[in-house]
Amino acid sequence: MTLDQTKPGQTFLIRSIDDPRARLAAIRFGIAEGSRAACQTVLPGGPVVVRKGKQEMALGRSLAHRITVELVEG
């Protein structure tokens, strides 16, 4: 599934990020392919807020749609 389909509270592993520029930026923020993160909030039609540890970051909806994730047990 893709990141924009996750629901608040779900934990997932990031499988792929289909955007070279965002991929590099995300690595520096702390999420890379293989990272484990959780969905914090989804704004209706808008960005997905993702949490990794104490850190939160927001990804625009269409970027979230290009990120493949795999749900795991929280």
Binding site: I27, R28, Q40, T41, L43, P44, G45, K52, K54, R61
Partner: protein
Amino acid sequence: MAQAHCHGPNPSVDLPQQATKVVLVGNPNVGKSAVFHALTGIYVEVSNYPGTTVDVSSGRMGDLGIYDTPGVYGVSSFNEEERVARAMILEADIVVNVVDAAHLNRDLFLTLQIIDMGFPVVVALNLMDEARVNGLAIDVERLSAELGVEVIPTVAVRGEGIAELKAAIKRARRGRPTPEVASRLPGDLPQVDGVLWLEDDPETCTRIGREGPGLQEEIYRARRRRADEIAERVISETTAGASLSARLGRLALHPLGGLVLMAAFLLVMYQVLGVWVAQDVVAVTEEIWMGEYYVPWMTDLVGRFIPVESFLGQILVGEFGLLTMTVAYLVGLLLPLVLGFYLFLALAEDSGYLPRVAVLVDRLMTVVGLNGRAIIPTILGFGCVTMATVTTRLMGTQRERTIATFLLSLAIPCSAQLAVITVMLVPLGPAYLFTFIGVLLLVYGAAGAVLNRILPGESSDLLIDLPPLRLPRMKNVLQKTFLKARSFLAEAWIFFVVGALLISILDQTGALAAMSGALAPITEGWLGLPRDAAQAFIMGFVRRDFGAAGLFNMALDAHQTMVAVLTITLFTPCIASIMIMFKERGKGQGAAIWLADIVLAILLGGLFHRILVW
């Protein structure tokens, strides 16, 4: 640097060229400026939002030169701040890497990059208090061993750990590089160049005349893996509970709660700025202090030496007098509102609320082909459109910069103009004010949507890191408000003076009446305004607020006020903005935007007049 001309003084000390350069490097919002301040004792702005402090500060610690850089997540050239930071890091003799103890995992990427590049490094593990509140314990010795450099825990705003940090800077040493980087370094290049070349850094590749190996992503991944591993080993969670700040941060982004909170913030802002400052405070400063005391006193004073009715007398103390109207508007009207605006901006920045607003509005901004980050230039535009136009550099693509620049010049009134507009509209009642806001939003949305459709290419997506919500430190907020308001007025007054002078001369020579006559078909015929309104539009070329101020004195009915205020808002931005626009967007695009502003303003103003009549 980038915003030098409009905002932010640049405390800078003269240092001999050969002095050892200590450069402070860190992610945004890690308290880097506070560390700088604690080390040097010179005051600098402490900002909370990535993208608002491209200014660079320098100071002195004994015989060492201390330099503060914009907050960045890595050494590269993704945007303006990164280019500034990168250039300063490459000049460093010693790097003090300030990291956020509560976000160690994220910050270690930059730490490892700096260490890989071979700089002597000391790590200031800042915000230790926040980490404790968040239930995090960090094994400092272990971290130091992993990195191979000294790690000093600090709480810079309270001065904790600063003495230890000062001592450690003198012992700074090179750390343990990431194996995947060290093993690939070409032997014939200096280490810094070698690392940047491995990462395909375009500038380095060009300078050394060698094509990059295409390893950027691989190196980044290796570093991220190592950062995660180190963080795993040194951090332990003592409690699982979320802090109040984290809970509030979550509320600020809740689909419903977030909107309620934002509405509350805007309502408080309206009450304070629109009602209290614009009416009660201005009634005292403008009408009483200026109108009843200062202006008559000055007119009387000048009248003792020169006849008030003479040419010079009119220029000094006449209707557009340099010593009367100009001063009264600047001090009585603008100053209180500009101070109030920057106070709210500083609060939103320093509390970390601004990035959350970016997330909330992202969905809406995509309609005009921008992402949520564009809210920063937009909000800044309500302060100073000139400064905001410069900050459009933080946007991902040229396409977005074009759209943002156009929308700023068309539909965002700056604080100076807002001051006059608020004073004109508020007495007419809330219905007029909300109509004005509604029409502006409509124009903003429609113009943006059209550009989004016709401009080629695609806009970039929102991808931002959210700093924790913090209680802003009042001392910083007030100091920042004061500094920004001061530099705003320092920049604005000259345009006011030139504008007043110009209009006085045009008025005295009869040119103004002639021009007003020539433009009558537009002002009277199309816009339904008195003939004199042309004066205000001519003044509007100098400064928008100056144009609005020209309308302020006219006897307009409610309907005319509405049309006039709307047209002057959409009309051309001030000369300073136009110059920056030409500089940032090039002559062709700059001219196109400028012309479009003027044509659209008159066109829409007239349409609006007809709709109101109907």
